[in-house]
């Protein structure tokens, strides 16, 4: 893979996800790859990543379920409830599986701040589940800001003592997909790569290069305004949002070209600063999100 030139993402809004998944479909038909088992674990978070995954377009959730993975456990979607649901989780560990985790791991009180179910009459904490499932997984995907580094769940003063998944699985290799929430393409594209070609190439922070290689700032359509020092003074302005606190210059992800929800818009397109939700350290290191007091107050505007 050395010396490989990265795909020209600026030309391919939907293309990466589409290309990977259509190849996946062909391979499936030729039986060159097998559907793999997926365990989707929701921990201490807002369950916004699974909602974002339901927003997947190409592939959509139906395709993902029917052609890419056998989803063995997912709190938000599975029909089973109570111990029978946890039983499915335990059974799934007998076979090979990919583990996807959203939400942070709450350490406080031995993990009792986040109980994900009951097993044999005892509470099963997110902490126990993360360690147990993480140790045996063939691949691990940390999905969204809370799973990759604690995210909002670990925001100051971190009342639940939340940490990212890696902290409780220090020796396990995992692919990290920061974002609040994750873009469905980042997750499904990474999953497709896993199924087709194995682990995607990642940077030194374990982020797939195909999505997280370039600073937002370097592909921002408002970059010319930054270069000329033309700055917005309020939300709603069409110029560079740097003085309002835009974190595009420190955030590596492909929002400017990919965009969100059917690729129709993104925060800067909505005349608001990027708040660095796909950058490690979000939210505390990215705060304040919006500042009006850097630019001069012009009274007679």
């Amino acid at each position: 893979m050395e010396g490989q030139i990265l795909p020209p993402e600026s030309l391919t809004n939907e293309a990466i996800a589409e290309r990977l998944t259509s190849t996946a479909l062909k391979s499936l038909k030729k039986r060159t790859i097998k559907k793999k088992n997926l365990i989707y674990l929701e921990l201490n978070g807002c369950s916004g990543n699974i909602i974002s995954l339901l927003n997947g377009q190409n592939p959509d959730f139906e395709y993902t379920l029917n052609s890419m993975v056998d989803l063995k456990f997912c709190n938000s979607l599975m029909a089973a409830e109570g111990e029978p649901a946890i039983e499915k989780l335990m059974k799934a560990m007998d076979d090979e599986y990919i583990l996807a985790v959203e939400g942070a791991v709450a350490l406080k009180n031995n993990g009792l701040y986040n109980i994900i179910g009951s097993w044999q009459g005892k509470p099963l904490t997110g902490l126990q589940a993360a360690k147990m499932l993480g140790e045996k997984a063939s691949h691990i995907l940390a999905v969204g800001a809370c799973a990759t580094h604690g995210g909002v769940s670990a925001a100051k003063p971190n009342p639940s003592q939340s940490v990212g998944l890696q902290m409780v699985l220090p020796d396990k290799k995992m692919i990290k997909l920061p974002g609040c929430p994750v873009h469905p393409d980042w997750f499904l594209g990474t999953l497709a790569h896993l199924l087709l070609y194995g682990e995607p190439e990642t940077d030194n922070l374990d982020r797939p290069l195909m999505f997280y290689s370039t600073l937002i700032h370097d592909r921002c359509p408002r970059r010319p305004f930054f270069d000329r020092g033309i700055f917005a003074e309020k939300l709603g302005d069409k110029t560079c949002l740097f003085k309002l606190g835009c974190r595009g210059p420190v955030t590596r992800v492909d929002c400017p070209t990919r965009q969100w929800n059917g690729h129709v818009n993104w925060p800067i397109g909505d005349n608001t600063p990027c708040i660095g939700c796909a950058q490690f350290g979000f939210p505390d290191a990215m705060a304040p999100f919006i500042s009006y007091d850097t630019t001069r107050v012009v009274k007679n505007e």
Partner: protein
Amino acid sequence: MSKRIVINPLTRISGFMEIDVMIDQNQVVDVKTKGNLFRGFEQMLVGRSPFDAVYFTQRICGICSAAHSMASSRALEDALNIEPMEQGKYLRDIIHCCEFLQNHIRHFYQYTVPDYVKIEQNSLFQADHDDFRLPKSINDRISQHYFDSLKYSRLAHEMLAVLGGKAPHNHGVFIGGITTQATAEKVVHIDSILGKIARFIDEKMIPDVYDIARFYADYFRLGGGYGNLLTYGAFNHYKELGTLYVDPLVSTLESVEAFDESNIQEKIDYSYYKSITNSNQPNEEVTEPDMDKEKAYSWVKAPRYKGLPFEVGPLARLILSGTYNNGISAMDRTIARALEAKKISEVMKILLQQIIPGVDVQKKYELPELATGRGLVDTTRGALGHWLKIQDKKISFYQIITPSTWDFSTRDDNGFRGTAEEALVGTPIQNPDKPAEIGRILRSFDPCMSCATHVYSPGKQVKTIKVF
């Protein structure tokens, strides 16, 4: 003979919830539900820039994030003494409409349908119970709609993103209304999608819910509860349009009256908190955690209106707006969600027609040294309130009472149970080994435990956080 049933986790809700039910002679006699995750947003918000509250509080909940942006924007407008322009309100409310549509479609098809419909396409939908009553043709049709619906909930988020930048966790809703300006292109983009969604609701979702109701008619008699209904008002008080949906109202079995926020109190008689009094106004200081308190069994407080527990949500709104009068039950709640989706699509159409392109409603805002504000808004699951205080231009206090806190509150000093607790008591359980009834009734409230349990101050020795 008494039997204890524990369901943990209650799947197909937002967040984690445990139900602990005692039954006697196949009838529910006692219930406890416990919210099983905790983050402590009210503490996290203290010391942050007030402007950041709009984006920060959305992270409470992945399925109803725009709701929190609505309430926090309004609370900040109150604190900063800003009256948004009508165009700002319209655009912001259109975003809120999109979230209603996304939420209701997903709650019905992804969370509720697997309770009543045997979806055989995938082992993920294999149920624990066998109380499936639909004829095969209807069962297969609704099963297919489970998957078809994904397109429409996704499109609802696409509309949201056209004005809000992205979803979940939008950037568009803000002080003054919205951050972007409408254009003809955006208006037709949204209108084109809205037509498709409205057709799906009319032609698929509403017939589906009535088909389910026909074969599970006993659920019109289950999960009723007190019958006290409350709304902060939704899509109301427009300067020119008046009220498009429902005004702030409360009703008990005896009377209907205008809502007055000074009647809200949060009780902590049975909650792990200490304070000089056991009843506080929402904007009073946070109470101290106290796990050793006698009688206490929950981390969730008990919001009360004039001392009574109230139900909030789509059914409450439909009844209070005078457009539904069939009754109050688990099935009525489920039907109301589908009917409200239709109502919201109509409201949204009217709002879209008011849009003037190119209006910039944003200003450069300045923070006061000292201020208080509150934002009350009815959102997908019901009445949502944010209360905040600003000191030295920073947040010094933040309180959130979510709809699920109303519906899943603790009992109080007057002996009133929480709304959902009351709704479950007396429910006959056909097969205590495979109980289908409990999950169906609880899901009819669309519980959002991400919201209800994230916002309360933690104690030192917390084991579980009981939501009721």
